[in-house]
């Protein structure tokens, strides 16, 4: 055997061929869209139901309703109490999870293959026939209010909330899924009932079933569980979609501060509204992000973590939504480094637009980070299910995952510069700091970004 040659790194061979599992689409007679994925790994079945109606479906004054309703549906069905439902889930070793996003609410249930029928039936009862009892609403609402109170202790949550509000103002995307103290306190059982009746309907829903069995068997599981689902009588489906927010008309950058006395670190959000998920520039934007802050060896992480040791990690990213979503840096930096970290970030935002375009080396690194490890995103039933939910959420073609790698590899440096100029605008960037006011405010004033707007943690 030849010993290792340590004079240079081994060159990886060509990327192994990867194919996303073949998807089969079905439609039940009630209008429910079903997609099945055969996944022969371990004896598990995963159901993922995605319902059009995320936090942006909350009407003004009702912020938190989509999430409250999603939280409430597994609190009992028929004569089963919340405890009974939880017991039934535990008996089949199920993992049940709820995620309320900007555009949809997604419910997943994973169980062992031998319990697949029971798992499907249980998920169906939860979603289509929740008891929606007053006592459960009061309890769950109070727990969420208390949770909201605790979130005020968490700098990242405080930052997220304030940043979304600054970017979106009164747009339906401008609040957290959990809502506010005022809106959540005012939500009633009638609100949840009406939301459920108009939103949890087959025509607004997509079910993905993934497991180690043939498509026909997976589709049969879907039909057994949800074939009899009918919308509540008299309920009219809620209208779909939200208006696209304007990209923002702020002429100059601004800086806002949520005071947090004695904080050892400043939590930063720096960015602005940027793009919709269906932008034709998705792939160049993904590459741009990887160069700038989307991976460990990105410009911003190398600068702020490796070179200056301001932070344990800095990253940028797009928060993709059907409507226009933010592009932002997030980092928690040592208090004394706050202003300098902000300056570094804005410099990098500026430089990638032309003064210091990506090099061939950076482009290769960015593409590699997006493409070369791509197959590992599709190892588990959960990963596959969530991927297929994304297809349906954003209306992507069934070939999307198979084409991803070549689409990324087609991106050129000129395209990265073009999209950086088109989508990244240091002049209308919002800087949000959650940190120790006494320690950071003077240096924030010296940034030349105008007055420092003071926000309360609740704003």
């Amino acid at each position: 055997m030849t010993p290792a040659d340590r004079s240079r790194l081994p060159e990886p061979g060509p990327d192994p061929v990867f194919h996303f599992p073949f998807l089969v689409r079905h439609q039940l007679s009630n209008g429910l869209r079903v997609l099945t994925v055969e996944h022969d790994s371990v004896p598990i079945v995963m159901f993922a139901m995605s319902i059009d109606g995320g936090l942006s479906a909350d009407l003004p004054g009702k912020e938190g309703l989509a999430a409250l309703t999603a939280d409430l549906v597994d609190e009992g069905t028929g004569d089963l109490s919340a405890i009974d439902v939880s017991d039934a889930l535990a008996r089949i070793g199920a993992e049940y999870d709820v995620e309320v996003g900007a555009d949809t609410s997604t419910f997943t249930l994973m169980t062992l293959e031998r319990y697949a029928q029971r798992g499907g039936a249980l998920l169906s009862r939860i979603l289509t026939a929740p008891a929606l009892r007053e006592s459960d609403l009061l309890r769950v609402r109070q727990l969420r209010l208390d949770r909201l109170r605790q979130l005020k202790d968490l700098a990242p949550a405080v930052a997220e909330r304030a940043f979304l509000r600054l970017l979106y103002r009164d747009h339906p995307y401008g609040h957290m899924a959990i809502g506010t103290d005022d809106s959540l306190s005012a939500l009633t059982l009638a609100d949840a009932g009406a939301f459920h009746a108009s939103t949890y309907v087959p025509s607004r829903s997509t079910l993905v079933v993934t497991g180690a069995m043939p498509h026909t068997a997976l589709a049969a599981l879907a039909n057994d569980a949800f074939g009899a689902w009918q919308p509540a009588t008299g309920a009219s489906p809620a209208s779909g979609g939200v208006a696209d927010p304007s990209p923002g008309s702020i002429a100059s950058p601004r800086v806002a501060l949520v005071p947090r006395e004695g904080a050892a670190q400043s939590e930063l959000r720096i960015g602005h509204l940027a793009a919709r998920r269906d932008t034709p520039d998705y792939f160049p934007l993904a590459v741009m992000n990887a160069v700038l802050g989307g991976q460990f060896v990105s410009r911003l992480n190398l600068k702020l973590r490796e070179e200056k040791a301001f932070t344990y990690g800095a990253r940028t990213g797009f928060d993709w939504r059907r409507g226009r979503g933010p592009f932002a840096l997030q980092a928690s930096v040592h208090t004394a480094a706050t202003a300098e970290a902000i300056q570094d970030c804005l410099s990098e935002f500026t430089d990638i637009r032309g003064p210091r375009p990506p090099t061939e080396h950076e482009l290769a690194l960015a593409k590699a980070s997006l493409t070369r490890g791509y197959p590992r995103n599709f190892e588990t039933a959960q990963q596959l299910s969530r991927a297929v939910v994304q297809l349906s959420l954003f209306g992507l073609p069934d070939t999307y995952f198979d084409e991803f790698v070549s689409r990324v590899n087609d991106v050129t440096i000129d395209e990265v510069i073009r999209v950086a100029q088109a989508y990244l605008d240091p002049a209308r960037t919002t800087v949000l700091v959650v940190g120790d006011r006494a320690a950071v405010e003077p240096s924030l004033r010296e940034l030349g970004l105008g007055e420092v707007e003071l926000l309360s943690p609740e704003s």
Partner: protein, 438 residues
């Protein structure tokens, strides 16, 4: 189409003492490399805490034949990678496309065999600052983030290897000397103190050949001595810590069976029966019925030298930790007296079985199949323990759970820590002594 529920593998030990474990899984064209060093914060000493974890950071800064960052070439090849340190072990892992397995093994072996020539004082000092930032972000600046430090300090005497937490004391980190790095590396980072697992889309014979090619040339080291330490409490310790929090929270901690020791699996079941999920006794009473608490959870922290069992509950606004403590004590008393009900056992075992299946879904990363093989190999010397591990839960009985609970959940041998909003020390359990943690 159904696969069996097990974790098949092959094991060889290289001439230099490195254990190599291989598991084949060909579903996705990826391979996981998972390398454990049997060293953690328990191998440090008072005044020099945090060293094992700081050292983990240094492993990412370059080695003799690749004298720059560890991440760049691997990420360029599509790897996902990370490392972690706990009290008992340090692990490093990469998940790579099959085509980059050579690269991952080259990189891992280079930093095992040839780290020191690349390690400069400047790199050391930068990473020391990064760790101090990590400490601020994950402990000092996080609500309730200092709880574990206060608990372990009270559970274990100052010279016990579990007295300090893995991140270490800030003053110790600041005072670390570059000169200590070399000793630490020579003592712990060599084949005889390591275990390599390779799992994924690879033929076992080829995997062994590659392991030997890259790691076989590294000189065998001396197996390091193993630290020991027994600890017990002889009374109930009550502490209070003020923190930037909205609501008071109660922590109760006991010494409990160590990892894979008799009673360890039972302790997991006790945690589920008492406080995990809506069906658990304490959730039902504290959160669902009486609404005294916002949350309640329990956790058996199994470790090499002995475990600790932790119960945590946050008071609902306007409710007191005293009410919560009373309800918890009643639930413990009932469980120790009567044991679990039959349906609680059924549910607990069903959940444990499902978790074992779910664990077989990923080849790499924290908790993936390669990490599990190393857990069994390093702590038990037996990578073939998956089925036996599951059997520990299947074989648990109402009696064995009751006996385990009675054994370690004693009221007069525990630590009760109240974390209260600053300036509201009266919200703590009565007779609590203020404790300071930094």
């Amino acid at each position: 189409m159904t696969t069996a529920i097990d974790l098949p593998h092959a094991k060889r030990t290289l001439a230099n003492g490195l254990d190599v474990l291989v598991h084949e899984a060909h579903g996705v064209p990826i391979v996981a490399v998972n390398l454990w060093y049997h060293v953690g914060s328990k191998d440090e000493s008072p005044g020099r805490t945090g060293f094992a974890h700081l050292f983990e950071h240094l492993m990412f800064e370059g080695s003799a034949h690749h004298n720059s960052g560890f991440f760049a070439p691997l990420q360029r090849a599509g790897a996902l990678l990370n490392g972690s340190t706990n009290t008992d072990r340090t692990n490093y892992w990469e998940v790579v496309p099959t085509s980059a397995l050579d690269l991952a093994l080259w990189m891992e072996s280079d930093r095992m065999g040839y780290l020191l020539p690349a390690l400069t004082r400047e790199r050391f000092e930068t990473q020391r600052d990064v760790v101090l930032n990590e400490r601020r972000q994950n402990y000092e600046n996080r609500p309730y983030g200092l709880a574990l430090m206060a608990l372990t300090a009270a559970l274990y005497p100052p010279d016990h290897p579990y007295h300090w937490v893995t991140i270490g004391a800030a003053a110790d980190i600041q005072g670390m000397q570059f000169e200590d790095v070399q000793d630490f590396f020579r003592t712990y980072y060599h084949p005889a103190n390591a275990s390599l697992a390779i799992a994924g889309d690879i033929d076992a014979a080829q995997a062994f050949e590659l392991a030997d090619k890259y790691f076989g040339e590294i000189p065998a080291g001396q197996p390091p001595g193993r630290v020991r330490g027994a600890a017990s409490l002889s009374r109930e310790v009550r502490l209070v810590l003020e923190d930037r929090v909205e609501l008071p929270r109660l922590y109760m901690a006991w010494h409990s069976p160590g990892m894979f020791a008799p009673g360890d699996a039972e302790a997991d079941l006790v945690a589920d029966i008492l406080a995990n999920g809506k069906t658990s006794r304490l959730y039902r009473r504290l959160v669902y019925e009486e609404r005294v608490a916002l949350d309640v959870s329990a956790y058996q922290n199994s470790r090499e030298l002995g475990g600790f069992f932790l119960l945590v509950s946050t008071a609902a606004p306007g409710r007191s930790l005293t009410e919560i403590a009373g309800a918890i004590d009643a639930a413990i008393h009932a469980l120790c007296a009567e044991g679990p009900a039959e349906d609680e056992m059924d549910r607990g075992v069903a959940q444990a079985e499902a978790q074992f299946v779910y664990r077989l879904q990923t080849v790499g990363g924290f908790g993936g199949k390669s990490d599990q093989l190393n857990t069994y190999n390093v702590f038990l010397g037996d990578p073939d323990y998956f089925a036996a591990d599951l059997a520990r839960y299947r074989d648990a009985s109402r009696d064995s759970v009751r006996a385990a609970a009675s054994d370690f959940l004693a009221f007069d041998r525990r630590v009760l820590l109240s974390i209260v909003p600053r300036g509201q020390i009266a919200l703590a359990l009565d007779r609590s002594d203020p404790v300071s943690v930094s």
